[in-house]
Protein backbone atom coordinates (compact mmCIF):
# COMPACT_ATOMS: atom_id res chain seq x y z
CA UNK A 1 0.00 0.00 0.00
CA UNK A 2 1.41 3.38 -0.91
CA UNK A 3 1.81 5.70 2.02
CA UNK A 4 1.68 9.38 1.47
CA UNK A 5 2.77 11.16 4.59
CA UNK A 6 0.54 14.13 4.14
CA UNK A 7 -2.69 12.12 4.04
CA UNK A 8 -4.28 12.48 7.47
CA UNK A 9 -7.58 10.71 6.90
CA UNK A 10 -7.99 8.17 4.13
CA UNK A 11 -11.59 7.13 3.48
CA UNK A 12 -12.16 4.06 1.33
CA UNK A 13 -15.44 2.56 0.09
CA UNK A 14 -17.35 4.05 3.00
CA UNK A 15 -20.95 2.84 3.11
CA UNK A 16 -23.76 3.48 5.53
CA UNK A 17 -26.97 1.61 4.82
CA UNK A 18 -30.29 1.58 6.60
CA UNK A 19 -33.23 -0.76 6.20
CA UNK A 20 -31.22 -3.60 4.70
CA UNK A 21 -29.57 -1.44 2.13
CA UNK A 22 -32.70 0.20 0.77
CA UNK A 23 -31.58 3.55 2.15
CA UNK A 24 -28.02 4.47 1.32
CA UNK A 25 -26.88 7.40 3.46
CA UNK A 26 -23.32 6.87 2.25
CA UNK A 27 -22.75 5.03 -1.00
CA UNK A 28 -19.13 4.17 -1.59
CA UNK A 29 -17.34 7.34 -0.53
CA UNK A 30 -13.61 7.60 -1.26
CA UNK A 31 -11.53 10.60 -0.30
CA UNK A 32 -8.16 11.62 1.12
CA UNK A 33 -7.97 14.46 3.60
CA UNK A 34 -4.46 15.88 3.65
CA UNK A 35 -2.71 17.87 6.34
CA UNK A 36 -3.56 21.54 5.97
CA UNK A 37 -6.66 20.91 3.88
CA UNK A 38 -9.63 23.14 4.44
CA UNK A 39 -12.23 20.88 2.93
CA UNK A 40 -15.75 22.19 2.63
CA UNK A 41 -18.52 19.66 2.05
CA UNK A 42 -21.71 20.97 0.49
CA UNK A 43 -24.84 19.33 -0.80
CA UNK A 44 -28.62 19.27 -0.48
CA UNK A 45 -30.14 18.07 2.79
CA UNK A 46 -30.20 14.29 3.03
CA UNK A 47 -27.16 14.03 0.77
CA UNK A 48 -25.16 12.26 3.47
CA UNK A 49 -22.68 15.04 4.17
CA UNK A 50 -23.34 15.09 7.91
CA UNK A 51 -23.27 11.28 8.04
CA UNK A 52 -19.94 11.40 6.23
CA UNK A 53 -18.49 13.90 8.69
CA UNK A 54 -19.80 12.04 11.73
CA UNK A 55 -18.37 8.80 10.37
CA UNK A 56 -14.87 10.29 10.41
CA UNK A 57 -14.69 9.98 14.20
CA UNK A 58 -17.14 7.07 14.30
CA UNK A 59 -20.00 8.91 15.95
CA UNK A 60 -21.79 7.16 13.12
CA UNK A 61 -20.84 3.53 12.56
CA UNK A 62 -20.42 2.75 8.88
CA UNK A 63 -21.89 -0.41 7.37
CA UNK A 64 -18.74 -1.08 5.39
CA UNK A 65 -15.52 0.55 4.32
CA UNK A 66 -12.43 1.83 6.04
CA UNK A 67 -11.31 5.09 7.60
CA UNK A 68 -7.58 5.36 8.08
CA UNK A 69 -6.47 8.02 10.55
CA UNK A 70 -2.79 8.45 11.41
CA UNK A 71 -2.18 5.20 9.54
CA UNK A 72 -4.65 3.11 11.56
CA UNK A 73 -7.96 1.81 10.29
CA UNK A 74 -10.26 3.06 13.01
CA UNK A 75 -13.21 0.99 11.80
CA UNK A 76 -11.43 -2.16 12.97
CA UNK A 77 -11.65 -3.50 16.52
CA UNK A 78 -8.01 -4.61 16.43
CA UNK A 79 -5.08 -3.13 14.57
CA UNK A 80 -1.42 -3.90 13.98
CA UNK A 81 0.76 -1.63 16.05
CA UNK A 82 4.23 -0.43 15.15
CA UNK A 83 5.84 -3.56 16.60
CA UNK A 84 3.70 -5.76 14.39
CA UNK A 85 1.39 -6.93 17.21
CA UNK A 86 -2.37 -7.02 17.10
CA UNK A 87 -3.69 -4.58 19.69
CA UNK A 88 -7.09 -3.18 20.56
CA UNK A 89 -7.84 -0.13 18.47
CA UNK A 90 -7.98 2.83 20.84
CA UNK A 91 -10.79 4.93 19.42
CA UNK A 92 -10.79 7.37 22.33
CA UNK A 93 -7.13 8.15 21.64
CA UNK A 94 -7.94 8.89 18.00
CA UNK A 95 -10.93 11.02 18.90
CA UNK A 96 -8.71 13.21 21.07
CA UNK A 97 -6.94 14.23 17.89
CA UNK A 98 -10.16 14.99 16.01
CA UNK A 99 -11.89 18.07 17.35
CA UNK A 100 -15.57 18.29 16.56
CA UNK A 101 -17.96 21.23 16.48
CA UNK A 102 -21.69 20.56 16.37
CA UNK A 103 -24.64 22.39 14.94
CA UNK A 104 -26.23 22.67 18.37
CA UNK A 105 -22.97 23.51 20.20
CA UNK A 106 -23.43 20.72 22.79
CA UNK A 107 -21.72 22.65 25.54
CA UNK A 108 -22.02 20.99 28.95
CA UNK A 109 -24.72 23.08 30.66
CA UNK A 110 -23.75 22.08 34.21
CA UNK A 111 -20.18 23.34 33.85
CA UNK A 112 -18.80 26.85 33.54
CA UNK A 113 -17.20 27.88 30.25
CA UNK A 114 -13.76 27.36 31.77
CA UNK A 115 -14.66 23.90 33.08
CA UNK A 116 -16.21 23.00 29.74
CA UNK A 117 -12.81 23.63 28.24
CA UNK A 118 -10.57 22.08 30.89
CA UNK A 119 -12.53 18.90 31.68
CA UNK A 120 -11.23 16.79 28.79
CA UNK A 121 -7.62 18.06 28.93
CA UNK A 122 -7.49 17.33 32.67
CA UNK A 123 -9.35 14.00 32.73
CA UNK A 124 -8.31 12.57 29.38
CA UNK A 125 -4.86 14.02 28.83
CA UNK A 126 -4.07 14.26 32.56
CA UNK A 127 -2.98 17.84 32.14
CA UNK A 128 -2.18 19.86 35.24
CA UNK A 129 -5.23 21.90 36.22
CA UNK A 130 -3.38 25.22 36.39
CA UNK A 131 -1.83 24.66 33.00
CA UNK A 132 -5.17 23.59 31.49
CA UNK A 133 -6.84 26.72 32.84
CA UNK A 134 -4.07 28.98 31.54
CA UNK A 135 -4.36 27.41 28.11
CA UNK A 136 -8.15 27.66 28.15
CA UNK A 137 -8.03 31.35 29.10
CA UNK A 138 -5.58 32.03 26.29
CA UNK A 139 -7.90 30.34 23.81
CA UNK A 140 -10.90 32.21 25.19
CA UNK A 141 -8.97 35.43 24.83
CA UNK A 142 -8.39 34.64 21.16
CA UNK A 143 -12.12 34.46 20.52
CA UNK A 144 -12.82 37.48 22.74
CA UNK A 145 -14.59 35.61 25.53
CA UNK A 146 -12.01 35.66 28.32
CA UNK A 147 -14.30 37.67 30.57
CA UNK A 148 -17.02 35.00 30.29
CA UNK A 149 -14.81 32.20 31.62
CA UNK A 150 -16.89 31.74 34.77
CA UNK A 151 -20.26 32.08 33.10
CA UNK A 152 -22.51 29.12 32.36
CA UNK A 153 -23.42 28.23 28.76
CA UNK A 154 -27.03 29.35 29.24
CA UNK A 155 -25.76 32.90 29.81
CA UNK A 156 -24.13 33.12 26.39
CA UNK A 157 -25.58 33.95 22.99
CA UNK A 158 -25.60 31.34 20.24
CA UNK A 159 -22.56 32.82 18.52
CA UNK A 160 -20.66 32.96 21.80
CA UNK A 161 -21.59 29.35 22.56
CA UNK A 162 -20.30 28.17 19.21
CA UNK A 163 -17.05 30.10 19.66
CA UNK A 164 -16.63 28.39 23.02
CA UNK A 165 -17.40 25.02 21.42
CA UNK A 166 -14.65 25.64 18.87
CA UNK A 167 -12.02 26.55 21.46
CA UNK A 168 -13.17 23.68 23.68
CA UNK A 169 -12.24 21.32 20.85
CA UNK A 170 -9.00 23.24 20.24
CA UNK A 171 -8.01 22.83 23.89
CA UNK A 172 -7.34 19.17 23.12
CA UNK A 173 -4.83 20.27 20.46
CA UNK A 174 -6.40 18.20 17.69
CA UNK A 175 -4.78 17.41 14.36
CA UNK A 176 -8.01 18.00 12.49
CA UNK A 177 -11.20 19.90 13.20
CA UNK A 178 -14.57 18.61 12.04
CA UNK A 179 -17.37 21.15 11.71
CA UNK A 180 -20.92 19.85 11.41
CA UNK A 181 -23.00 22.78 10.12
CA UNK A 182 -21.57 25.10 12.78
CA UNK A 183 -23.61 28.13 11.77
CA UNK A 184 -26.94 26.49 10.87
CA UNK A 185 -28.52 26.97 14.31
CA UNK A 186 -27.38 30.58 14.67
CA UNK A 187 -29.27 33.81 14.24
CA UNK A 188 -28.05 35.46 11.02
CA UNK A 189 -26.24 38.28 12.81
CA UNK A 190 -24.14 35.76 14.73
CA UNK A 191 -22.97 33.73 11.76
CA UNK A 192 -20.16 36.16 10.97
CA UNK A 193 -18.41 35.96 14.32
CA UNK A 194 -18.23 32.15 14.13
CA UNK A 195 -17.05 32.12 10.52
CA UNK A 196 -14.38 34.66 11.46
CA UNK A 197 -12.95 32.24 14.05
CA UNK A 198 -13.01 29.43 11.49
CA UNK A 199 -11.28 31.61 8.91
CA UNK A 200 -8.53 32.40 11.35
CA UNK A 201 -8.08 28.71 12.10
CA UNK A 202 -7.77 28.02 8.40
CA UNK A 203 -5.18 30.77 8.03
CA UNK A 204 -3.14 29.19 10.80
CA UNK A 205 -2.98 25.99 8.81
CA UNK A 206 -5.40 23.84 10.80
CA UNK A 207 -6.69 20.85 8.87
CA UNK A 208 -10.45 21.29 8.67
CA UNK A 209 -13.45 19.47 7.29
CA UNK A 210 -16.57 21.64 7.28
CA UNK A 211 -20.09 20.68 6.37
CA UNK A 212 -21.80 23.97 5.77
CA UNK A 213 -24.40 25.91 3.84
CA UNK A 214 -22.24 29.04 3.86
CA UNK A 215 -21.34 29.27 0.18
CA UNK A 216 -19.22 32.37 0.74
CA UNK A 217 -17.11 30.46 3.23
CA UNK A 218 -16.86 27.50 0.86
CA UNK A 219 -15.62 29.72 -1.97
CA UNK A 220 -13.30 32.06 -0.07
CA UNK A 221 -11.82 29.98 2.74
CA UNK A 222 -11.83 26.38 1.58
CA UNK A 223 -9.05 25.02 -0.59
CA UNK A 224 -11.05 21.93 -1.51
CA UNK A 225 -14.72 21.72 -2.22
CA UNK A 226 -16.69 18.47 -2.14
CA UNK A 227 -20.21 18.21 -3.47
CA UNK A 228 -22.30 15.33 -2.20
CA UNK A 229 -25.73 14.10 -3.26
CA UNK A 230 -27.56 10.84 -2.58
CA UNK A 231 -24.69 9.55 -0.44
CA UNK A 232 -22.09 9.95 -3.16
CA UNK A 233 -19.34 12.45 -3.85
CA UNK A 234 -20.44 13.78 -7.22
CA UNK A 235 -17.81 16.42 -7.72
CA UNK A 236 -14.75 17.77 -5.99
CA UNK A 237 -12.00 20.20 -6.72
CA UNK A 238 -10.74 23.73 -6.31
CA UNK A 239 -13.62 25.81 -4.91
CA UNK A 240 -13.44 28.87 -7.16
CA UNK A 241 -13.12 26.65 -10.19
CA UNK A 242 -16.13 24.59 -9.15
CA UNK A 243 -18.24 27.66 -8.50
CA UNK A 244 -17.30 29.04 -11.90
CA UNK A 245 -17.65 25.81 -13.86
CA UNK A 246 -19.83 23.18 -12.22
CA UNK A 247 -19.45 19.95 -14.19
CA UNK A 248 -22.49 17.94 -13.20
CA UNK A 249 -26.13 18.83 -13.75
CA UNK A 250 -26.80 18.10 -10.10
CA UNK A 251 -24.28 20.71 -8.90
CA UNK A 252 -25.54 23.29 -11.40
CA UNK A 253 -29.03 22.71 -10.07
CA UNK A 254 -27.80 22.96 -6.46
CA UNK A 255 -26.00 26.24 -7.13
CA UNK A 256 -29.05 27.65 -8.84
CA UNK A 257 -31.04 26.90 -5.70
CA UNK A 258 -28.64 28.24 -3.10
CA UNK A 259 -26.84 31.10 -4.82
Amino acid sequence: METRDDVLIRVRNLKKYYNRGTIKALDDVNIDIRKGDVMVVIGPSGSGKSTFLRSLNLLELPTAGSIEFDGEDITQKKVLNKDGKMVKMDLDAHRQKMGMVFQHFNLFPHLTILNNMTLAPIKVKHMDQKLAEEKALKLLDRVGLKDRANAYPIQLSGGQKQRVAIVRALAMEPEVMLFDEPTSALDPEMVGEVLEVMKELAREGMTMVCVTHEMGFAREVGNRLVFMAEGKILEQGEPKEMFANPQTERLKEFFSQVL
Binding site: R20, R95, K97, N106, H110, I154, A165, M172
Partner: protein, 261 residues
Amino acid sequence: MDSFIKISNFPIVFKYMSLFGQGIVVTVLLSLFTVLIGFVLALILALMRLSDIRPFAFLEKDENGYVRDSGFLYLISRFNPFAFLATAYVEIFRSTPVLVQVFIIYYGVFGVIKLPTFTVFGFIQFARFFPGVVALGLNSGAYLCEIIRSGIQSVDGGQTEAARSLGMSQAMNLRYIILPQALKNILPAIANEFVVIIKESSITYTIGVQDIMSAVNAVKGATFIIVEPLLVATAIYFCLCFPTSKLIAYVERRMSRGDKR
Protein backbone atom coordinates in the same frame (compact mmCIF):
# COMPACT_ATOMS: atom_id res chain seq x y z
CA MET B 1 -72.33 12.64 70.99
CA ASP B 2 -68.89 11.60 72.06
CA SER B 3 -66.02 12.66 69.91
CA PHE B 4 -63.81 9.80 68.78
CA ILE B 5 -60.86 11.83 70.02
CA LYS B 6 -60.63 12.26 73.76
CA ILE B 7 -58.39 15.19 74.75
CA SER B 8 -58.00 13.62 78.18
CA ASN B 9 -56.20 10.64 76.62
CA PHE B 10 -53.31 12.73 75.30
CA PRO B 11 -51.56 13.27 78.67
CA ILE B 12 -51.56 9.47 79.08
CA VAL B 13 -50.07 8.99 75.59
CA PHE B 14 -47.46 11.68 76.21
CA LYS B 15 -46.09 9.62 79.08
CA TYR B 16 -44.79 7.27 76.42
CA MET B 17 -43.14 10.07 74.46
CA SER B 18 -39.68 8.51 74.86
CA LEU B 19 -40.96 5.49 72.90
CA PHE B 20 -42.03 7.79 70.10
CA GLY B 21 -38.66 9.51 70.30
CA GLN B 22 -36.88 6.21 69.81
CA GLY B 23 -39.33 5.42 67.01
CA ILE B 24 -38.39 8.65 65.22
CA VAL B 25 -34.68 7.77 65.39
CA VAL B 26 -35.37 4.28 64.06
CA THR B 27 -37.63 5.50 61.25
CA VAL B 28 -35.16 8.17 60.15
CA LEU B 29 -32.19 5.79 60.20
CA LEU B 30 -34.23 3.12 58.45
CA SER B 31 -35.18 5.54 55.68
CA LEU B 32 -31.66 6.92 55.26
CA PHE B 33 -30.07 3.48 54.96
CA THR B 34 -32.87 2.36 52.67
CA VAL B 35 -32.36 5.26 50.30
CA LEU B 36 -28.61 4.67 50.36
CA ILE B 37 -28.92 0.97 49.51
CA GLY B 38 -31.78 1.65 47.10
CA PHE B 39 -29.86 4.34 45.27
CA VAL B 40 -26.69 2.31 44.80
CA LEU B 41 -28.71 -0.71 43.72
CA ALA B 42 -30.82 1.43 41.40
CA LEU B 43 -27.77 2.97 39.77
CA ILE B 44 -26.35 -0.49 39.05
CA LEU B 45 -29.72 -1.71 37.76
CA ALA B 46 -30.20 1.36 35.57
CA LEU B 47 -26.74 0.97 34.04
CA MET B 48 -27.48 -2.71 33.43
CA ARG B 49 -30.70 -1.79 31.67
CA LEU B 50 -28.96 0.82 29.53
CA SER B 51 -25.89 -1.30 28.79
CA ASP B 52 -25.19 -2.67 25.34
CA ILE B 53 -23.71 -6.05 26.22
CA ARG B 54 -25.01 -8.47 23.63
CA PRO B 55 -23.31 -11.88 23.52
CA PHE B 56 -25.04 -12.75 20.24
CA ALA B 57 -24.38 -9.44 18.51
CA PHE B 58 -22.45 -11.34 15.81
CA LEU B 59 -25.84 -12.47 14.49
CA GLU B 60 -26.99 -8.94 13.78
CA LYS B 61 -25.89 -8.89 10.16
CA ASP B 62 -27.54 -11.11 7.56
CA GLU B 63 -25.79 -13.01 4.78
CA ASN B 64 -25.58 -9.84 2.66
CA GLY B 65 -23.90 -7.90 5.45
CA TYR B 66 -26.94 -5.78 6.20
CA VAL B 67 -28.12 -5.18 9.74
CA ARG B 68 -31.24 -7.22 10.50
CA ASP B 69 -34.36 -5.37 11.58
CA SER B 70 -36.77 -8.25 12.25
CA GLY B 71 -37.05 -11.97 12.78
CA PHE B 72 -35.89 -14.51 15.36
CA LEU B 73 -32.16 -13.99 14.78
CA TYR B 74 -32.69 -10.24 15.14
CA LEU B 75 -34.25 -10.78 18.57
CA ILE B 76 -31.40 -13.05 19.63
CA SER B 77 -28.79 -10.57 18.42
CA ARG B 78 -30.47 -7.84 20.48
CA PHE B 79 -30.56 -10.01 23.63
CA ASN B 80 -28.74 -8.41 26.56
CA PRO B 81 -28.63 -10.69 29.63
CA PHE B 82 -27.79 -7.83 32.00
CA ALA B 83 -30.68 -5.70 30.82
CA PHE B 84 -32.94 -8.76 31.00
CA LEU B 85 -32.00 -9.52 34.61
CA ALA B 86 -32.38 -5.90 35.68
CA THR B 87 -35.75 -5.59 33.97
CA ALA B 88 -36.97 -8.82 35.52
CA TYR B 89 -35.86 -7.61 38.95
CA VAL B 90 -37.60 -4.26 38.57
CA GLU B 91 -40.84 -5.77 37.31
CA ILE B 92 -40.98 -8.45 40.02
CA PHE B 93 -40.35 -6.00 42.85
CA ARG B 94 -42.80 -3.47 41.48
CA SER B 95 -45.54 -6.04 40.93
CA THR B 96 -45.56 -7.63 44.40
CA PRO B 97 -46.60 -6.12 47.75
CA VAL B 98 -43.82 -4.68 49.85
CA LEU B 99 -45.27 -6.47 52.87
CA VAL B 100 -44.72 -9.83 51.18
CA GLN B 101 -41.17 -8.81 50.29
CA VAL B 102 -40.43 -7.77 53.87
CA PHE B 103 -41.75 -11.10 55.20
CA ILE B 104 -39.81 -13.16 52.66
CA ILE B 105 -36.58 -11.31 53.45
CA TYR B 106 -37.08 -11.51 57.22
CA TYR B 107 -38.47 -15.02 57.67
CA GLY B 108 -36.99 -16.53 54.52
CA VAL B 109 -33.57 -15.09 53.79
CA PHE B 110 -32.67 -14.06 57.33
CA GLY B 111 -34.28 -17.18 58.72
CA VAL B 112 -31.39 -19.01 57.10
CA ILE B 113 -28.68 -16.38 57.56
CA LYS B 114 -28.37 -15.84 61.30
CA LEU B 115 -27.62 -12.24 62.28
CA PRO B 116 -25.81 -11.29 65.49
CA THR B 117 -28.25 -10.10 68.17
CA PHE B 118 -26.98 -6.80 69.50
CA THR B 119 -28.61 -3.44 69.97
CA VAL B 120 -27.45 0.00 68.89
CA PHE B 121 -28.19 2.99 71.19
CA GLY B 122 -29.88 0.47 73.48
CA PHE B 123 -33.11 0.28 71.46
CA ILE B 124 -32.28 -0.63 67.82
CA GLN B 125 -32.30 -4.41 67.50
CA PHE B 126 -29.88 -5.13 64.70
CA ALA B 127 -31.36 -8.55 63.86
CA ARG B 128 -34.70 -6.89 63.04
CA PHE B 129 -33.47 -3.53 61.80
CA PHE B 130 -31.06 -4.96 59.24
CA PRO B 131 -33.55 -7.24 57.42
CA GLY B 132 -35.97 -4.30 57.37
CA VAL B 133 -33.38 -2.08 55.69
CA VAL B 134 -32.47 -4.79 53.21
CA ALA B 135 -36.09 -5.48 52.26
CA LEU B 136 -37.01 -1.81 51.88
CA GLY B 137 -33.74 -1.11 50.04
CA LEU B 138 -34.34 -3.90 47.54
CA ASN B 139 -37.85 -2.59 47.00
CA SER B 140 -37.00 1.07 46.55
CA GLY B 141 -34.06 0.08 44.33
CA ALA B 142 -36.58 -1.16 41.79
CA TYR B 143 -38.49 2.13 41.81
CA LEU B 144 -35.38 4.33 41.88
CA CYS B 145 -33.95 2.32 38.96
CA GLU B 146 -36.71 3.51 36.70
CA ILE B 147 -36.28 7.08 37.93
CA ILE B 148 -32.53 7.04 37.29
CA ARG B 149 -32.95 5.37 33.91
CA SER B 150 -35.39 8.01 32.75
CA GLY B 151 -33.05 10.67 34.12
CA ILE B 152 -30.11 9.36 32.12
CA GLN B 153 -32.24 9.06 29.01
CA SER B 154 -33.51 12.61 29.45
CA VAL B 155 -30.01 14.03 28.90
CA ASP B 156 -29.63 15.19 25.30
CA GLY B 157 -27.73 12.74 23.09
CA GLY B 158 -25.54 15.59 21.86
CA GLN B 159 -23.91 15.68 25.29
CA THR B 160 -22.56 12.17 24.86
CA GLU B 161 -21.43 12.95 21.33
CA ALA B 162 -19.56 16.03 22.51
CA ALA B 163 -17.92 14.15 25.38
CA ARG B 164 -16.90 11.21 23.20
CA SER B 165 -15.61 13.50 20.46
CA LEU B 166 -13.29 15.04 23.05
CA GLY B 167 -11.84 11.58 23.66
CA MET B 168 -13.66 10.83 26.91
CA SER B 169 -14.41 7.16 27.53
CA GLN B 170 -17.95 5.93 28.08
CA ALA B 171 -17.25 5.79 31.84
CA MET B 172 -15.94 9.37 31.96
CA ASN B 173 -18.89 10.56 29.94
CA LEU B 174 -21.23 8.92 32.42
CA ARG B 175 -19.45 10.27 35.46
CA TYR B 176 -18.66 13.83 34.45
CA ILE B 177 -21.34 14.65 31.88
CA ILE B 178 -24.41 12.42 32.02
CA LEU B 179 -24.93 11.60 35.71
CA PRO B 180 -24.52 15.16 37.05
CA GLN B 181 -27.18 16.37 34.61
CA ALA B 182 -29.39 13.32 35.09
CA LEU B 183 -29.34 13.56 38.89
CA LYS B 184 -30.28 17.20 38.71
CA ASN B 185 -33.21 16.37 36.47
CA ILE B 186 -34.51 13.61 38.73
CA LEU B 187 -33.93 15.26 42.09
CA PRO B 188 -37.66 15.95 42.63
CA ALA B 189 -38.49 12.33 41.84
CA ILE B 190 -35.80 11.06 44.22
CA ALA B 191 -37.07 13.39 46.94
CA ASN B 192 -40.53 12.03 46.40
CA GLU B 193 -39.20 8.48 46.69
CA PHE B 194 -37.43 9.39 49.94
CA VAL B 195 -40.69 10.69 51.39
CA VAL B 196 -42.44 7.53 50.22
CA ILE B 197 -39.81 5.43 51.99
CA ILE B 198 -40.26 7.33 55.28
CA LYS B 199 -43.93 6.44 55.15
CA GLU B 200 -43.47 2.93 53.79
CA SER B 201 -40.89 2.08 56.46
CA SER B 202 -43.82 1.90 58.89
CA ILE B 203 -44.49 -1.54 57.45
CA THR B 204 -41.40 -2.93 59.17
CA TYR B 205 -43.13 -2.82 62.55
CA THR B 206 -44.67 -6.11 61.41
CA ILE B 207 -41.26 -7.78 61.78
CA GLY B 208 -40.65 -6.09 65.12
CA VAL B 209 -38.60 -3.09 64.07
CA GLN B 210 -39.24 -0.51 66.78
CA ASP B 211 -40.15 2.44 64.64
CA ILE B 212 -42.88 5.03 65.16
CA MET B 213 -45.69 2.57 64.41
CA SER B 214 -44.31 0.11 66.90
CA ALA B 215 -44.48 2.86 69.53
CA VAL B 216 -48.18 3.24 68.70
CA ASN B 217 -48.63 -0.47 69.23
CA ALA B 218 -46.79 -0.42 72.52
CA VAL B 219 -48.97 2.42 73.84
CA LYS B 220 -52.07 0.63 72.61
CA GLY B 221 -51.05 -2.56 74.40
CA ALA B 222 -50.30 -0.78 77.66
CA THR B 223 -53.25 1.62 77.83
CA PHE B 224 -55.91 0.34 75.41
CA ILE B 225 -55.93 3.83 73.84
CA ILE B 226 -55.87 3.54 70.05
CA VAL B 227 -56.80 6.73 68.21
CA GLU B 228 -54.71 9.26 70.11
CA PRO B 229 -51.34 7.49 69.68
CA LEU B 230 -52.19 7.12 66.01
CA LEU B 231 -52.79 10.86 65.80
CA VAL B 232 -49.43 11.48 67.46
CA ALA B 233 -47.81 9.16 64.90
CA THR B 234 -49.62 11.00 62.10
CA ALA B 235 -48.25 14.31 63.33
CA ILE B 236 -44.73 12.90 63.57
CA TYR B 237 -44.81 11.42 60.06
CA PHE B 238 -46.10 14.70 58.68
CA CYS B 239 -43.37 16.64 60.45
CA LEU B 240 -40.78 14.31 58.92
CA CYS B 241 -42.10 14.20 55.37
CA PHE B 242 -43.34 17.71 54.75
CA PRO B 243 -40.08 19.53 55.67
CA THR B 244 -38.09 16.92 53.77
CA SER B 245 -39.90 17.57 50.52
CA LYS B 246 -39.68 21.33 51.14
CA LEU B 247 -35.96 21.09 51.85
CA ILE B 248 -35.26 19.18 48.67
CA ALA B 249 -37.38 21.59 46.65
CA TYR B 250 -35.18 24.36 48.04
CA VAL B 251 -31.96 22.53 47.16
CA GLU B 252 -33.36 21.90 43.69
CA ARG B 253 -34.04 25.61 43.18
CA ARG B 254 -30.50 26.45 44.28
CA MET B 255 -28.98 23.87 41.98
CA SER B 256 -30.86 25.11 38.95
CA ARG B 257 -29.69 28.67 39.58
CA GLY B 258 -26.77 28.03 37.27
CA ASP B 259 -28.92 27.44 34.23
CA LYS B 260 -31.63 30.02 34.75
CA ARG B 261 -30.23 33.49 34.55
